[in-house]
Amino acid sequence: MFTKTVIRMLFVIGALGYAGVAMGQDDVHNYLNDTAIKVKATESPAEKREILSTSLGGMIKALDTVKSAPMTSDRDDAKLDRIQATLQEKSDELAGVNGFDRVPDDRLNAFSTYIVQDMEQADKTFTISLVTALLIVIIIILLV
């Protein structure tokens, strides 16, 4: 019985380790892409703005939650800070604060694409630890 339990645990840990890191990054991309799809499917600029604002705010808060977890390393925190700062700039530009011009109503679709593409740029040499990646996955699942 004990052996079976250990084998099952090893299997689950292996499966999570196998998929965890990639899922953490992919889920951030997918989450932002879903936001862009919703924005483009909406007619009203006010609603588009609301969708973008809620999505960016939710992701920024989610990263705060991940950073406050005791399991994340300093290295992970520095990387998450970078992602968070990038998202915060997008949020500021949407609202037209902190030195940004407000994104015009007729450019909101393009802005949603810009957010997706900017987060998917090929500058991805950073990696985050498995624990951090799994936390991001869990929080995104809760957000959606």
């Binding site: 499966a15 990639a22 990054q25 991309h29 030195g99 450019r107 694409t113 810009y114 740029q121 040499t125």
Partner: protein, 370 residues
């Protein structure tokens, strides 16, 4: 098509057809045959017997996060897209030999038994001649497995007069590249590993005619300097490069010579096409630059010490107290000859702090964080 032509010709030869009809059918058959894209058997045989005029090597890194979304929101894998485009190019070049290496994530059978994590394809005269899976952790240097397979496929035949090399992947770190390969988190990879691989493929004292580095931030004095001894022209992006990468369409049906003028013209055409394609498809910054290696060497050498000092000072510090900048914006790097040997294609991002930036020097550097 062949059956159709046979039926047409047979129909034209029928004795009870009208003379006008049979002449028309034969003429149509000849016309259709002359428009065919497949070369006649004799011509194909001649091409296969002659040595290839072009050598194309593609290294496509796929061992990491390469998910992106197209303008319609469809999820795509950048490395798989490039692989299929490179294979299509290989099939459309009867005068070339094409080596494609796809570096993929290491997977395991039942999470225990590792599977090969590289795929190699060798095309010659438009046909796939060899295909094999390989291990990527064999050898001292990061690109040793690809170099060995290149040598095995190429054999002892004379080198084609025009040689092109393409690397697709995330930015290759200039220092401390731990974590570049998702499957080998402890292994360090840097631009020097690629330079070593290019050197081995180019051969002693030989140079690749055009090296395209489809990564973010490839257009730095350090990266160009590392690759310079092994290439005549480099096409790279000094800023972020979207994962739809450089378009490969200009490589279809290659037909140019190996003179400086020919290579320059092709490099410019390749870069301009990549730029225009990206500028149509993305909202982020688009920058594609052609570096004439001989002409830029003065600038690269002049800033090498200052650049290395800045990067080395920040190595290992978290967060690193440095940020990227256009070299022209930092007095340490500016010099009168910094624009020599560059052809710059640049469009600012549509949004963000840099959206009103009208130009880029073509060189990206590091500076201390303000």
């Amino acid at each position: 098509m062949t059956r159709f032509l046979q039926r047409l010709i047979a129909g034209a030869r029928q004795a009870h057809s009208t003379e006008l009809g049979s002449k028309g059918c034969v003429a149509l058959a000849v016309l259709l045959a002359s428009c065919g894209t497949v070369p006649p058997a004799r011509q194909e045989g001649q091409i296969a017997a002659s040595p290839p005029r072009y050598s194309l090597v593609f290294i496509i890194h796929g061992d990491g996060d390469y998910l992106y979304h197209d303008a319609l929101g469809n999820a795509r894998r950048a490395d798989e897209d490039v692989l299929s485009r490179a294979q299509a190019i290989a099939e459309r070049n009867p005068n070339a030999e094409v080596f494609i290496f796809h570096q993929i994530e290491r997977r395991h059978v039942l999470f225990l038994i590792p599977r090969r994590d590289g795929r190699a394809y060798y095309y010659r005269h438009g046909h796939l001649r060899e295909q094999k899976a390989y291990w990527r952790d064999q050898g001292d240097s990061r690109f040793d497995p690809e170099v060995r397979l290149y040598e095995q496929f190429a054999g002892t035949q004379p080198l084609p007069p025009v040689r092109l090399f393409f690397y697709f992947g995330h930015e290759l770190p200039e220092l401390n590249g731990a974590g570049y390969d998702a499957s080998y988190s402890e292994r360090r990879v840097s631009i020097h590993d690629l330079a070593e691989g290019v050197r081995a493929i180019a051969g002693e004292s030989a140079k690749i005619d055009l090296l395209a580095l489809a990564t973010c931030f490839g257009g730095t004095p350090y990266t160009v300097g590392a690759l310079a001894p092994h290439a005549r022209y480099i096409v790279a992006s000094p800023d972020n490069l979207h994962l739809s990468y450089f378009d490969l369409e200009p490589l279809a049906g290659l037909d140019f010579g190996s003179s400086d003028g020919d290579i320059t013209a092709f490099a410019n055409r390749f870069a301009r096409n990549a730029f225009e394609q990206l500028a149509r498809d993305v909202e982020t910054v688009v920058s594609v630059v052609v570096y004439d290696v001989d002409a830029v060497s003065g600038f690269v050498d002049s800033v090498a010490d200052a650049y290395a000092r800045t990067v080395t000072a920040a190595d290992g510090t978290i967060p690193a107290p440095i940020e990227r900048c256009d070299c022209a914006d930092e007095v340490t790097y500016t010099s009168p000859g910094m624009n020599d040997g560059l052809t710059v294609f640049y469009r600012a991002p549509r949004f963000g702090r840099m959206k009103n930036e009208p130009r880029h020097s073509g060189w990206e550097c590091w500076r201390a964080t303000k």
